[in-house]
Structure formats: C-alpha cells, structure tokens
Symmetry: C2
Amino acid sequence: MEHLNEKTLKSEKLFSGRVINLYHEEVLLPNGKTSTREIVKHPGAVAIIALTEDYKILMVRQYRKAMERILVEIPAGKLEKGEKPEVTAKRELEEETGYTCSSLDHLISFYTSPGFADELVHLYVATGLEKMEVKAELDEDEFIDVLEVTLEEALAFIQDQQIYDAKTAYAVQYLQLKSAVGE
Amino acid sequence: MEHLNEKTLKSEKLFSGRVINLYHEEVLLPNGKTSTREIVKHPGAVAIIALTEDYKILMVRQYRKAMERILVEIPAGKLEKGEKPEVTAKRELEEETGYTCSSLDHLISFYTSPGFADELVHLYVATGLEKMEVKAELDEDEFIDVLEVTLEEALAFIQDQQIYDAKTAYAVQYLQLKSAVGE
C-alpha cells in the first residue's frame, strides 16, 4: 500500500496530560510532498452493554465538559496502564453502576476518531448482573446517575439527544438488531 | 441537574491547529472540589453511508497517521466553517468516491469521544448514486482507494480489523439491521 502510506519526518510532543497527549507531526505524503498532522494519543477505553434479565440496559447520566452538557451513555472508562480491557470493563461496570456480572463477552473494538486520535474503545456485553451489597467507589471527580433503560426509552433518548455519542448509539442499534433477529 | 454539573474556573488554550484546538481547564465539581479537564475542540464532521443499487456500500481505504495504519472507512470529512452538514456530505461523497447522489437523508448524529473531544459526526444515507464524468478533486494531502463492499465483505473487514472505527462499524450494523427487518 505504498501509494497510501505516510512517513513521519518530524514528531513534536506539544502537551502531556492526565488523559491525552498531543503531537504535531510533519509527514511525507505518497506523492513526495509534505503535510502536517495533529495527533491526540489516548490510552484506550472500554464500554459495557450491561443487560438486565428483563432486557433493560444500564446507562449512566453524567456531565461532559467537552460539550458542556449532560449526556446519557453506556458505562465506560479509560484503560489503566497495563490493565487488560476485560478487567477494566468489570471494574468500570462495578464502579459506575454498582452491578457485577457473571458473563462478559467482547463484542467489537473500534477507533472513535481516526482523523485525529488513536483512542480505541473495546465494547463488551455483560449479562448475569447482580447488585453489589457494597457499591464500588467512583473516581474522585466522577458524578453520575444510574439508569435502567428499555430499548424504546433508549430510542426516545436518541431522538431528544440525551443519548448522543457513538458507542451508545452503537449499543442501542445492537439491541435493535438483536430484537429484530429474535434473540 | 445541579448534582452533576461542572463549572469552568479557568480555561487556557494550549494549541491552535489546522484541525483541532486544545484547551486545559480547571473546573468546579458538584461537591465543591476542583479538578482539571483536557478538551479537544473540533469543527465537526460528516460521514456517508452510500448505497449502490445492488446493495453495496462505498468505502474508502486510506492511511491514518494517528494509528499509523491503513483503515477502510465510509466516506467522511470535516465541516468547513459555516458549511451546512448536508452540503459537506454531498461534497465529500463526490470528492472521495467520484459519485453524486440523488437522495441524501440524515440518519443520526453522535459525538465520537465525549470524554475529551467535542467532535460531532453527522451520518447520512446516500442513494441514487451516479458516477461523475469528471471526478471532483481530493484535498491536496488526501490519498485514497475507493471500494464497493457487500455486507458480507464488510463483516469480514471488521473481523480482520480493516474496518476498525466507530462510524463505519455503526454503518455496517445499520446494514445488518436493514437486512434483518427485510428492507
């Protein structure tokens, strides 16, 4: 694929943060010209489609500073250094919802913003949910409400833009597909 | 939702780029404590599910510097300043694939990475495709291959991680759902 590849001529780290790092790069294009790329590096994340026995999906309502608004999303969280995604998924489910799961299956992984960031989200389906007697603790700077949402409610949340992010839209469509094929 | 909201105490612009801007913010949490947020501002983007008459979907293969690998994605592109998303969608479809469409319907919009970025992607379904006699020009630093992909091929591309991003995964699942409900 030599007719598509770009080569790094120069890479400069502009910012090193708690969550992301920012790089400015100069690249050699396939036609011999040069261009620049702005690259956000992210540790990766997990998200969990947690299904109750009566076919509701657990969601969390939280304030998102980047948009300056409250969103309803499926539970999710960043990978800690060296942590396996399925461990992060179990931990985040417990911390954010107060539920453990007996079954956790990988569904799909995807990059969220390939044009400028390397964030990879690993999406899991959790079933066999059981409410924990002692709720796990949230991060110090996390404040959330937990919701149990039916497919119909989720579709209404998409309509009125309370659900408004890619991983949660994917999760809702997944439920629609499961429902359509009669699973 | 006062128990969830964060207030901006300080916002500092750290980087102003061609595509993204980076801010570092200090916020007041609902419990009165403070924390920091790293925020990427993005102009927003469109993506197009372009369907041929024989039910193939147009995709583009391109190098993505953030991941340093080639991905297969549905056509997409950034909003120009002041440009309406449906205009961007029509333009990007023409530039990237060489097809015009007679019908363009908004399917859904979603934030791609609500944890650190405000990028909003508007997803459209394009039908009534017609090959242009004179292909529109790509951006100077864009190099792509155009593919016509069946649903089965798309599912195989997900398996071997050639398709590996959220908007394209959503598009493929949309086709599965359409197929399951017999549309």
